[in-house]
Subunit: 186 residues, 2 copies
DNA sequence: CACCAAACAGACAGGTCTGTCTGGTGTCAA
DNA sequence: TTGACACCAGACAGACCTGTCTGTTTGGTG
C-alpha cells in the first residue's frame, strides 16, 4: 500500500472524520474507526489533533470553511441580493440531498454536545452567525429597515426546512421554505 | 431505604431515563447511570424493558404522551382555532425554556439515530405527524383551501424556532416565529 | 548521504458500554 | 401462611472506548 506522505495524514483523517461523524454521529464513531477509514494509524491521529474532541472541532471548522466557499460561489454567480438569498436555500437543499438528508452537521453536533460552553458549540455559533450575517448583508440592500427582522425569519425557515427534511426524508420542506422566503423578500 | 414496590421500577426508570437522556443525550448516558438515578438495579431495567433501545423508545413514547396532554389542555383552554395554533407556539417555547433550551427531544433523538428505519425514528415521525395533524385540523376551520400549505409553513416555523433557540440559548426565535405565524394565519 | 520528522504496526492500560447471571429479600395475593 | 414474583446486590463477560507507548520504517531536506 502507498505510504502516506509526511503531512498528509491530517488531511486524510479530516476527510474520514467528516464522512463518518456526519453519517453515523460523533459519539457513535470511535477513533480507531476514523483512523482505519483514513488508512492511517491512531498514533497519527493523536499526533495531528491531540484528542478526539479537537478532531471533532477541526471537522466542524473544515465543514464551515467548505460552506463559506459555497457562499463565495453564490456571491460570484449572482449579483442580485434576492437571488443570492434564494440561492442559499438551494445550496442548503442540495447539500442535504447529496448527503441523504442526514441534516445540518452543526445542528446534529449541537444535539450531541449539550454544554453550550463546549468548543464544539462555539464553532456552531460561529457558523450560524456567519450565515445570518451573509443574509443580512444582502437584505440591507433591499429594505434596510426590515433587514434584521427578515434575516431572523429566513434563518427560521432555513433551519426549519433542514430539520423537517430529515424527519420527512425528502426535500419537500424546502419547497415550502423557498416559496415563503420569496414572498417575504418580495 | 424504602424498597421499590413491585411494579414501580418501570415508572422510576422511565422518569430517570427522561431526565438523563434529554439532558445529556442518549448515547452519552449508560444503563448503569439510568438505573442508579432511578434508585433501581440494572436487572430491573432489563426485566422491565429488555434492552436500552426499547427503553429509549419508551422514553420518547412517554414524552409524546405528555405532549399530547399538553395539546389537550390547549384545546380545552381555547375555542378559537387561531388561538389554539398560537398556543402551540407558546407551549413549545415554555417546554424549551423550562428545560434550559436543550431543544426538541425528538429532533435530538433524530440526530443521534441516523437510520430512518430505526424504531426511534418511527416514534419521531408519529409525534411530528400528530403535531402537524393538530395544526391542520385547526387551520381547516379557517381557510380550508390553504390549510395544508399553512400547516407546512407553521411546522417550519416551529421547528426552526426550536433549533435556533438552542443555538442562541434563548427564546428570542420564538418571538420571530410567533409574529410571522400570526401574520400567516391572519 | 545522513539525518529528522512523521508515518507505520500493534500492544497495552484503564475505563465504560450493554447485557447476563446468581442468590438473597421483601411484597402482595390467594 | 405460603407461593409467586418483582425487586436488590453485585459479580461477570466480552466488546468497545480514549489515549499512551515502544520500536521500526520511510520520505523529504540539508
Amino acid at each position: 500500500m502507498a505510504r502516506t506522505r509526511p503531512g498528509d495524514a491530517g488531511a486524510k483523517l479530516l476527510k474520514a472524520a467528516s464522512t463518518l461523524f456526519y453519517r453515523d454521529g460523533i459519539h457513535a464513531v470511535g477513533v480507531d474507526t476514523v483512523a482505519a477509514e483514513a488508512g492511517v494509524t491512531k498514533a497519527a491521529l493523536y499526533g495531528n489533533f491531540g484528542s478526539k474532541s479537537r478532531l471533532v472541532v477541526a471537522y466542524l471548522r473544515e465543514r464551515d470553511r467548505r460552506w463559506q466557499e459555497e457562499i463565495d460561489r453564490i456571491t460570484a454567480a449572482h449579483a442580485d441580493p434576492r437571488e443570492r438569498v434564494l440561492a442559499v436555500f438551494d445550496a442548503y437543499e442540495a447539500w442535504l440531498s447529496r448527503d441523504g438528508y442526514r441534516g445540518c452537521a452543526f445542528l446534529n453536533a449541537t444535539s450531541e454536545f449539550p454544554d453550550p460552553a463546549d468548543p464544539v458549540r462555539e464553532v456552531v455559533r460561529h457558523h450560524k452567525t456567519a450565515l445570518r450575517g451573509y443574509l443580512l448583508a444582502q437584505l440591507r440592500r433591499g429594505e434596510p429597515g426590515r433587514a434584521d427582522t427578515l434575516a431572523d425569519e429566513l434563518m427560521l425557515l432555513l433551519e426549519g426546512a433542514a430539520v423537517t427534511s430529515v424527519v420527512a426524508q425528502g426535500p419537500q420542506p424546502f419547497d415550502t421554505a423557498k416559496r415563503l422566503a420569496q414572498t417575504l423578500i418580495a
